[in-house]
């Protein structure tokens, strides 16, 4: 019987080894380890053995059974892995095909510039003021030291609605409106992004509607050097740390002294090219110290308070920054234009 068991073990192990799949392996399991299998049969014949031999053969039979069982399990693992591998092989795909699009919109480039400016100035303690686009002559001109018949009104040829109402030609009316709200008490720290309108024929560089960001700070002890520092911060944020900045005296009726700011031309690095008209410099914004008449008219005592104000042309900033050659692109909304401003930029 001993021999028979050893024989069965070898036979079973060979069959296990040669099993091709889980089905065959299971057949082997049933055949050798099942209740009707040959090992069970051998055990049934143990009655014929001498009583002292029985435990020996019993133990042997259990060993054989365990060995077969172990081998089946090992083989089963191998075959299962094989099945998974085959399945995965079949599931292989072309990973170069395009993925399912997740369509995302994005900010208009003008909004992109405005939000960036807003975030910068919020960080500097400013709030965002907004105001009417249809303005009174008083706020658009007179409160800004531009009385009727002032020659500088020509600079801003405007769309009148009636004798007293017009589409604002700049965001500056919010200077007076905001100061009035503060009732003569500082500090005032605002920026005013918004639409403005001038009588210009629309072409590549002119638009009857455009956007501005006005800035106003009024407090005790505000200096012209503060204006310079603030505008330098803005210019570098918009155009990069490596730009040089120059400050030129200029004239606006509502500031005194007034300043215009140029940055070194990015295209020629200051050597002179078509974009900078050979000067190496590009004008980006204007500002100045708030004129005492403006402070006074809006209820602030110019002996106690000083302030600065500035105005930024948003289209101009965007055009310079992105190299846009036609201002009309901002208003025609060609999706091939708009989509270009989706990516994040530092």
């Amino acid at each position: 019987m001993k021999e028979r068991l050893e024989e069965l073990k070898l036979e079973a192990l060979a069959k296990i080894e040669s099993s091709q799949d889980l089905k065959q392996l299971n057949e082997v399991r049933v055949a050798y380890l099942g209740k009707k299998g040959p090992i069970t049969e051998v055990l049934r014949g143990m009655g014929k053995l001498a009583p002292e031999e029985r435990p020996v053969i019993g133990a042997l039979a259990n060993d054989v059974r365990a060995a077969i069982q172990e081998q089946i399990e090992a083989k089963q693992k191998v075959l299962e892995e094989q099945v998974i591998a085959e399945k995965l092989q079949k599931e292989s795909i072309d990973i170069t095909l395009p993925g399912r699009p997740v369509v995302q919109g994005n900010h208009h480039p003008l909004t992109k510039v405005i939000e960036e400016a807003e975030n910068l100035f919020i960080g500097l303690g400013y709030t965002i003021a907004e105001g009417p686009e249809v303005e009174t002559d008083y706020y658009n001109f007179e409160a800004l030291n531009l009385p009727k018949d002032h020659p500088a009104r020509d600079m801003q040829d405007s769309f009148y609605i009636s004798e007293e109402l017009l589409l604002r030609t700049h965001t500056s009316p919010m200077q007076a409106r905001t100061m009035e709200k503060h009732e003569g008490k500082g500090p005032v720290k605002i920026i005013v992004p918004g639409k403005v309108y001038r009588r210009d024929d629309d072409d590549a560089t002119h638009s009857h509607q455009f956007m501005q960001i006005e800035g106003l700070v009024v407090d005790e002890g505000i200096r012209m050097s503060d204006l310079k520092g603030t505008l330098a911060l803005f210019a570098k944020k918009m155009f990069g740390e490596d730009r040089d900045i120059r400050y030129r005296p200029s004239f606006f009726p509502f500031t005194e002294p007034s300043v215009e700011i140029d940055i070194s031309c990015k295209i020629c690095n200051g050597d002179g090219c078509n974009v900078c008209k050979g000067t190496g410099w590009i004008e980006i914004l204007g500002g100045g110290m708030v004129h005492p008449n403006v402070l006074r008219m809006s209820g602030f005592d110019p002996e106690k308070y000083t302030g600065f104000a500035f105005g930024i042309g948003v289209e101009r900033i965007a055009m310079l920054r992105y190299g846009i050659d036609d201002i009309r692109h901002f208003y025609t909304n060609d999706v091939r234009f708009l989509k270009q401003f989706a990516p994040y930029e530092s």
Binding site: A152, F159, H208, I222, R223, S225, P249, N333
Partner: protein
């Protein structure tokens, strides 16, 4: 203002400063120099020639064959097409190898068979603007004075070796609209002296007061002076004078007129010369015009005057539009022998109004408009009279007749050193400030650290301490001022809740795939009122530039449809846009309109496009509704939102809904009516427009966590057949009210119209989810509630579908 570098030398020594450096320094200290033009740089080999003979070209009816002496051994032959070329003239000759304006090179050649060894040039061909070339030479070659030396280089003769600086003068710096003003500015920048021109008038026996009297009836003419110069011989000005005028952009006419322009440029004081014999009287009367009074100005145009126009009259009729343009009748002509010279001070506002009304701008009016220095009125007249005597052979009568009522108050400005430094953020020393004031050539007294500065009348722009701060800052150099940030009281920068939520709105819409658009606020009368929920009062421009931009919009959708059409024409078929912008509702004349911020969108084409996996979703009503539902959920508004089927002008009557928030209409969405689509040249566009203020001004609640239910719920489906007109919303309302506390969620999962249901009927299926946060529900409990729901649906006419 065009400033000749060579001419500037007459008043300030700039010989040690290059034109470029001068331009740069002037720009940096306050007056932008837009361009430095050097005509001569682009030219070479151009000399004076003498036309010896001039014969007809055998093969042409307009060309001439000229033999020209250019100072070489032999005369050269040049073919010339100018109508005014003639033997005996001294002319400008570009030799073979020369370069003339427009970078043209002159080569040896043959013109219609005849040899031509050069070119006789017009001034335009040397790069002069046709507007400044004397009229007689405007259509031909320029003829030089007879005594010009043959063969010499024309460069210094015509000042082609000059540099001309184009100054862009801001409204406050009108003092620099004169050569002397620019000289003072240059002197201040470089610390130099100013040399003023002398006016030595020979004394005459006769008195001007015997010839003319002057009187002003208007406050707009506080100073009027007149001089008379006799025995004048009108002729061309000497070339040096013509050169200076042309460099300054003014066309030479004749010696007397040129001198008035020359002195205008020199002093910034406009002058006018009348022909005394044609003046019509011995009296100058300045007054306001009579309404409808007529006069013919120098340009030959008859002007109908208004009561507010200031005129110079001879006591009877107008002879000049004061400060703007002279009259044709009393103009100085070739036969003029006696000149009446006007130098006056007119009110800038009055001149500006007249100049604008009549559409006439002149060198004179542009100076009066911005203001002039009253102390130069007489100086300029003396200077011009002396020049007329010198260059036109006249005799200046003794004296000046004048009406002078202008009281010029001296202006003093007090500035203190510490205030200057506090204002500018600088730490200037007393010496540094004093040096700047000295450079400006202002007189001052210094008490301790306080300057009391007397502002000269030539700088009428300076009246307050801040003006002086600017003078100090610009001459110290803006670039030398430190860069600091405000130091005072700290403020908290922030967005208002509205502004924050507006950013959220953009985020949601962009997340849903829409691109932010910007369109114009001005629209056409035709588009006004389109897609409006209620009629608005229009806000119209008084003088629109075009019909397309004549009125402020009351809705945003029309311009978004234009943008869709623009894209469609460029084959961009799938477009989703949104815009946040104002619309304007009129509130009556001279009242500011109500400005309301709207959120609008327009979508067309495919919303999802993933072709290789066969996924294409075309935009429809539910795409737009889904986007808005997402938005309302983000804004915590979903609870209060309701949709009502609506009929709106320009919209598809079956696919349009009003959006209500807490029972108030806040906007609408839907498909554009096909007829309207045709007008805009678009197809299958879905739009929405909402009043953003009504959405964002509702205070948002802070969020509180709700426990995740521990007990699983039970779902039940119910499918019913109802009339097609019955909306899913109505059915849902019935279910919700019958379902009570336990019913937590209702969702439509199927809508069917077709063969399997009766005509005019539809099948709608809902999934209902029941649960309780505290315990597990039993089937019995749920069945009881669910039966109530089914019953309620049946009572409402629904048939249960098996």
């Amino acid at each position: 203002m065009l400033v000749s570098y060579k001419w500037l030398q007459d008043y300030v020594d700039v010989s040690d400063i290059s034109p470029e450096e001068l331009a740069e320094k002037i720009t940096r200290s306050g007056i932008e120099v837009e361009e430095v033009e050097k005509k001569g740089e682009k030219l070479k080999k151009i000399v004076v020639g003498h036309v010896l003979s001039c014969e007809e070209h055998p093969n042409s009816d307009h060309l001439k064959i000229c033999q020209v002496d250019v100072g070489e051994e032999e005369p050269i032959q040049i073919i010339c097409g100018a109508p005014n070329v003639a033997a005996g003239q001294k002319v400008i000759v570009a030799l073979v190898g020369a370069r003339i304006g427009g970078n043209i090179k002159i080569k040896r050649g043959k013109i219609r068979g005849e040899v031509s060894n050069g070119m006789i040039c017009s001034l335009q061909e040397l790069g002069f603007d046709g507007k400044v070339v004397p009229k007689e030479y405007a259509d031909g070659i320029f003829v030089l004075p007879e005594d010009t030396q043959v063969g010499t280089d024309v460069f210094s003769l015509l000042n082609l070796d000059d540099a001309v600086l184009e100054l862009s003068i801001t409204a406050n710096r009108a003092d620099c609209m004169s050569m002397i003003g620019v000289a003072y500015e240059t002197a201040a920048i470089f610390g130099k002296e100013v040399k003023l021109p002398a006016a030595n008038v020979p004394v005459s026996e006769e008195k001007v007061s015997d010839y003319i009297s002057v009187r002003s009836e208007s406050d707009d003419c506080p100073i009027y002076t007149a001089k008379v110069i006799k025995n004048v011989k009108i002729g061309p000005s000497p070339l040096w004078l013509q050169n200076k005028l042309m460099a300054a952009g003014i066309r030479p006419h004749n010696n007397v007129v040129d001198i008035t322009n020359y002195v205008l440029l020199e002093y910034g004081q406009p002058l006018h010369a009348f022909d005394y014999d044609r003046f019509g009287s011995k009296e100058v009367l300045v007054r306001k015009a009579y309404e409808g009074e007529k006069m013919v100005t120098l340009d030959g145009t008859e002007r109908t005057l208004r009561q507010e126009d200031l005129v110079i009259t001879n006591g009877k009729e107008p002879v000049a539009l004061a400060g703007v343009m002279g009259g044709l009748d009393s103009e100085v002509r070739d036969d003029t022998t006696t000149v009446l010279l006007e130098s006056a001070y007119f009110n800038g506002t009055s001149i500006r109004r007249t100049s604008r009304y009549h559409g006439l701008r002149s060198e004179a009016s542009s100076r009066y408009e911005r203001g002039i220095d009253p102390t130069r009125v007489r100086l300029a007249a003396e200077r011009a009279a002396a020049l007329i005597a010198e260059l036109a052979g006249g005799e200046v009568l003794e004296g000046t007749v004048a009406h002078d009522e202008l009281v010029v108050e001296p202006v003093t400005v007090k500035v203190e050193l510490n205030k200057i430094n506090n204002f500018l953020g600088t730490s200037l020393s007393l010496q540094e400030v004093e040096d700047i004031v000295k450079k400006l050539q202002f007189t001052y007294t210094l008490d301790n650290e306080t300057f009391v500065i007397e502002i000269p009348s030539r700088r009428w722009d300076i009246t307050i301490q801040e003006d002086m701060y600017e003078e100090i800052a610009r001459l110290y150099g803006y670039d030398n001022i430190p860069t600091t940030l405000p130091e005072g009281q700290q403020t908290l920068g922030h967005l208002t809740p509205y502004q924050q939520k507006r950013r959220v709105v953009r985020e949601v819409l962009e997340g849903a795939g829409l691109l932010q658009a910007t369109t114009y606020s001005l629209t056409s009368k035709e588009k006004f009122g389109q897609f409006a929920l209620q009629p608005a009062e229009p806000v119209e421009l008084a003088m629109p530039m075009s019909e397309e931009h004549a009125i402020l919009r009351d809705t945003v959708i029309p311009h978004l449809l234009d943008s869709i059409a623009y894209n469609r024409a460029r084959k961009n078929a799938d477009v989703g846009l949104f815009e946040i912008g104002k619309v304007y509702y009129g509130k009556g004349a001279n009242v500011q309109p109500e400005e309301v911020e709207h959120l609008a969108g327009a979508l067309t084409g495919l919303y999802v496009n993933h072709p290789w996996q066969g996924e294409k979703v075309t935009v429809d009503f539910y795409t737009v509704k889904g986007i808005l539902e997402t938005l309302f959920a983000r804004l915590q508004l979903a609870q209060g939102i309701r949709y009502e089927k609506a009929e709106i002008d320009g919209m598809h009557p079956g696919q349009t809904a009003k959006v209500l928030l807490n029972d108030e209409v806040v906007g609408f969405l839907g498909k554009v009516h096909p007829t309207r689509e045709k007008e805009y040249d678009v197809k299958n566009v879905f739009v929405f427009e909402l009043d953003l203020g009504k959405l964002l001004n509702i205070e948002s609640k802070s969020l509180t966590y709700t426990k995740i239910p521990k007990f699983p719920g039970i779902t039940r489906d119910v499918a019913i057949v109802v009339d097609q007109g019955k909306s899913a919303g109505e059915l849902k309302d019935i279910i919700v009210s019958a379902g009570g506390q336990l019913l937590k969620d209702v969702n439509v999962f199927d809508v069917y119209i077709g063969e399997k249901v009766e005509e005019n009927k539809k099948s709608v299926a809902f999934t209902l989810r029941y649960s309780d946060t505290e315990r597990t529900l039993t089937d019995d409990e749920v069945n009881q509630v669910h039966e109530k729901v089914v019953e309620a649906l049946q009572n409402a006419g629904a048939e249960l579908r098996m």
